[in-house]
């Protein structure tokens, strides 16, 4: 039954079929970075178009397409997957697990995300990308000409299915696969935020699935959900979208909160202040995230009672968020703060995110929101929380976990240039947009007329965006030139959590012996109270590993084929695609795959650990 290791297979085949959470994590990260670059270029196109009044750089239709793709790609295909990369790589290590609960499903989740994202981008070459905004409000989306919006619907449906699967995988992994001694209240904050984020994914994404389904039924199959003449109601879509959409923004911010908790605590050399308060604040934010969706719809005419209730519920989120901010500050208090690039991003996050948070409270005030809504004030707000929160989190994590993931350290010098350029560029771009909104500039405008007092502020904003683009180049250069920094990569930051107790590169089985956890910050505890090495919870024995599989790629391709069938209304193609998909499920179901075992001799040879 031990049909031995994957050594004889080719490297490409190995990556295509891998079910190793570390490889999948790396693929998630790189695919996310790829889409991040595309969406970043789209952002630059937007800022060039808006640099001067009445520019004809893009044209209205193209602008709307670029705008839609920028938002959609950043949220679904860049930020989330990059977080998923870290979650996949780090979470099992942090809880001392050999693997995730469903390695096969994990791989399927990745390929669905990637194929869905690529499918969405095919639209650029087939007559136009989606143009109804990332929110795709009906009936603008249901009446949009061409196939752009169909690509949006199907692309997100396919990648969303992948996201949902990954979410379930993380949940079960965290509940069932923790090493002995790793109680829930000893889990690192990043693992906790992964858990709560996955909960949000589980309960939020099905609402999006239905929202997109209704759009698809209306567009392709003649449904009447949003057809006013047949009694349809377009506000239903807005509710469904935001029931998903608001939790989605917490899906984007909670992992970043987890990352900052790890990074700040590591570089202040202190245990996280108020650990249990932090955990509960995370859960409360996750819970409230489902209670506030309608604050995106204050102007849609829900009436004063609904508006007042949702306003108060939204404001309430400021409380647990405030708790977190103060706990981070108190973690720093009395510490020995080291200003590495990773920590710089974490530290810059605090004031940036506070600025985004206070405008969030302002936006929560329904009566005032009648002025803010759908203006550049909102654009400024959500870029402050998404860049100041999520993107800073991604960059902090990139510098923090890069050595573990890729086996070399990113250069600190180039890293700091990147950081400062990015930070200043970011504030330059978005701070001024608050005022642009207040002096009357609506969002999602393809241009603006001269003489309305928008010119100077837009120019400043665009210049800031250029700075951010230049900063990003420094990151790319850093990734390329730092490849020789391969020393001190096992535990470069004097880490506190279990992932730093593994070898670099991490062995495919993570831990030769399942670790025994004796306290929060398991590694730090052993460094202070033990010999600096994690105790083993079991004797050295052969390790069971799952087999790789090519089925996830075939299944994902099947769904892409079916999607093309829907987009171009070719029913045979739909049938073929579904046949491929269900066929794979059938094969998977009837073929019992028990994996293989790595013998003790092999573990000793690989590990060199006792």
């Amino acid at each position: 039954m031990s049909n031995s290791s994957a050594a004889q297979k080719s490297v490409v085949w190995d990556w295509l079929t891998t079910v190793d959470h570390k490889k999948i994590g790396i693929m998630y990260f790189l695919a996310g970075l790829f889409f991040f670059t595309i969406a970043g270029i789209e952002a630059m196109l937007i800022r060039i178009q808006l640099m001067f009044p009445e520019m004809a750089f893009l044209g209205e239709q193209t602008y709307n397409e670029v705008l839609t793709m920028h938002g959609t790609t950043m949220l679904f295909l860049a930020a989330m997957p990059m977080f998923f990369g870290f979650m996949n790589f780090v979470t099992p290590l942090q809880i001392g697990a050999r693997d995730v609960a469903f390695p096969f499903v994990n791989s399927l989740g990745f390929w669905l995300f990637l194929f869905g994202g690529l499918l969405l981008h095919v639209s650029y070459f087939t007559g136009g990308a989606p143009d109804a905004g990332w929110t795709a409000y009906a009936p603008l989306s249901t009446t949009s000409e061409g196939q752009g919006v169909d690509y949006y619907i199907l692309g997100l449906q396919v990648s969303g299915a992948g996201t949902l699967m990954s979410g379930i995988n993380f949940l079960v992994t965290i509940v069932n696969m923790r090493a002995p001694g790793m109680s829930m209240m000893r889990m690192p904050l990043f693992t906790w935020t992964t858990f709560v984020t996955s909960m949000l994914i589980l309960f939020a994404f099905p609402a999006l699935t239905v929202g997109l389904l209704l759009l698809m039924l209306d567009r392709t199959f003649g449904g009447a959900f949003f057809d006013i003449g047949l009694g349809g109601n377009v506000v239903i879509y807005q509710h469904l979208f935001w029931i998903f959409g608001h939790p989605e923004v917490y899906i984007l911010i909670l992992p970043a909160f987890g990352i900052f908790s790890e990074v700040i605590s590591t570089f202040a050399k202190k245990r996280l202040f108020g650990y249990s308060a932090m955990v509960f604040a995370t859960m409360i934010i996750g819970f409230l995230g489902f209670m506030v969706w309608a604050h995106h719809m204050f102007t849609v005419g829900m009436g004063p009672v609904a508006n007042a209730i949702f306003a108060v519920a939204t404001m309430a989120i400021a409380v647990p968020t405030g708790i977190k901010i103060f706990n981070w500050l108190l973690t720093l208090w009395g510490g020995r703060i080291k200003f590495t690039t990773a920590n710089l991003f974490a530290l810059a996050f605090i004031p940036s995110f506070v600025l985004g948070g206070v405008t969030g409270v302002q936006l929560a005030m329904s009566a005032a929101d009648y002025q803010f809504h759908d203006t550049y004030f909102v654009v400024a707000h959500f870029h402050y929380v998404i860049i100041g929160g999520s993107v800073f989190g991604i960059f902090a994590a990139t510098f923090y976990w890069w050595p573990k993931m890729f086996g070399y350290r990113l250069g600190e010098g180039l890293g700091k240039i990147f950081f400062w350029l990015f930070l200043i560029g970011f504030h330059l771009t978005f701070f001024i947009q608050h005022f642009l909104g207040l002096v009357g500039m609506p969002r999602r405008v393809a241009s603006y007329l001269d003489g309305q007092g928008f010119n100077e502020m837009n120019l400043i904003s665009s210049l800031g965006a250029f700075m951010m683009a230049v900063a990003f180049i420094f990151l790319v250069v850093n990734v390329i030139v730092s490849r020789k920094n391969t020393t001190n990569v096992t535990d470069p930051w004097d880490g506190r959590t279990l992932e730093w107790a593994t070898t670099t590169p991490v062995q495919e089985f993570n831990f030769a012996q399942t670790p025994l956890i004796r306290d929060l910050d398991a590694l730090w505890y052993e460094k202070m109270n033990g010999n600096g090495k994690i105790k083993a919870a079991e004797p050295l024995d052969e390790i069971h590993m799952p087999n790789g599989s090519i089925l996830p790629i075939i299944m994902s391709s099947g769904l892409v084929v079916a999607s093309f069938g829907v987009i171009y209304e070719m029913y045979l193609l739909i049938a073929l695609g579904l046949l491929i998909n269900f066929g794979c499920m059938f094969v998977r179901s009837i073929k019992e795959d028990h994996g293989y075992h790595i013998p003790v001799s092999e573990i000793k040879k690989q590990g060199g650990e006792s």
């Binding site: 510490g335 302002q362 007092g453």
Partner: protein
């Protein structure tokens, strides 16, 4: 980070003093609704500046005081947490939020209370402290229907249909009933008050008031297609008497103006061109279709098509090729085969003389 903190209150004041364009900025309110909202914004700003000051002070102190100094290798004390502190920074934010929540809820209800609701309440007895408002005397009702990409303003009780320019009296409140004919739009006049959506199939209501005469910028704020950015309109606030004259003339325009006779021979010829080409979409007075904007007071338009200066040249270009100026709008192009250059001049003569208010 600290410099941002110091900038905040000052920049707001600077902006209030004049940044942004007059009658467009939400920071320079010209009516009670916008004022109420600006007060709320300012209140929240002050509370939030307090929060920012507290957080940034602790932050700056911590970063300076506890930075790693060269040669320092001590292990900091591993603190678990502090119940009292957690309690404090849970309670104080709740109190701050209450300061914001209470006036916000009051304002939300005030803004939802349209004049006609007050009028209904006043029918019987005193309606919960609201003074009874009488349609026509204390307020007027306008139905604002949004189309891709223009605004139709109907005055149901005055029998008026107007396009693009919303005329309102300074001595009365305005109840605005919002509808949409195609996709979702949103009605926003920043200087007069916050917005509300025009949703197909749904009727929304809001109210505004403009005590000062003036021309206010209005915008569509919900992405509605390619020319979303050009879906502007103007609110023209005039004194009550002028408004009544305007309303009377809009409802029953002078026959001589409608026929072009008042403006001379070219205009009469233009009227013929109008009747054979334009009247299937545009109306003057009772004659014509409401498919496109109403032309009864076209000569008094602030801008044409929502954004063009009303010059003869612009009108000419617009009629010849509206798509290149405002993509995806519903207006067809008229080539020289359909309207010759001479006819075009006559047409422009005619429509620019369509006025309902006397010239100054």
């Amino acid at each position: 980070m600290k410099h941002l903190l110091r900038l905040l209150p000052f920049s707001l004041i600077a902006l209030l003093a004049g940044c942004g364009v007059e009658n467009l900025s939400a920071l320079d309110p010209r009516g009670p609704v916008a004022e109420m909202q600006l007060n709320l914004i300012q209140l929240s700003l002050y509370v939030m500046i307090f929060v920012i000051v507290v957080v940034f002070s602790i932050y700056t102190f911590v970063l300076i005081k506890f930075r790693e100094r060269p040669g320092d290798t001590h292990i900091p004390k591993q603190v678990h947490g502090n119940r009292a502190l957690e309690f404090i920074w849970t309670t104080i934010p709740i109190l701050l939020l209450l300061i914001l929540a209470v006036p916000n809820i009051m304002d939300t209800f005030t803004l939802a209370e349209t004049p006609s609701m007050s009028a209904t309440e006043a029918d019987g007895e005193e309606g919960e402290g609201q003074e009874g408002m009488v349609e026509g005397e204390d307020f007027i009702t306008v139905q604002a229907t949004a189309h891709q990409f223009w605004w139709e303003f109907e005055y149901p009780n005055l029998d008026i249909n107007a396009g693009q320019d919303l005329y309102i009296p300074t001595d009365r409140r305005v109840e605005i009933v919002l509808e949409a004919s195609d996709v979702v739009h949103s009605f926003w006049v920043p200087a007069l008050g916050g917005k509300m959506d025009n949703v197909p199939g749904i009727t929304n209501e809001m109210w505004l008031e403009a005590p000062e005469e003036g021309i206010y910028f209005g915008k569509c704020t919900e992405l509605c297609g390619a020319s979303h950015w050009l879906m502007d309109f103007k609110v023209v606030a005039v004194d009550g008497d002028t408004f009544d004259v305007w309303a009377a003339n809009m409802a029953e325009p002078d026959e001589a103006v409608v026929s072009g006779e008042a403006a001379g021979e070219a205009a009469v010829e233009g009227r013929e061109v109008f009747e054979s080409n334009c009247i299937s979409c545009h109306a003057v007075g009772d004659e014509g279709s409401p498919t496109g904007p109403n032309f009864t007071n076209f000569g008094e338009r602030q801008v044409v098509a929502g954004f063009l200066e009303p010059t003869d040249e612009n009108l000419h270009d617009w009629i010849r090729d509206p798509q290149s100026l405002k993509p995806d709008n519903e207006m067809p192009a008229f080539s020289e085969d359909q309207i010759s250059d001479d006819e075009m001049d006559a047409l422009i003569d005619y429509i620019t003389e369509l006025k309902v208010l006397e010239e100054d």
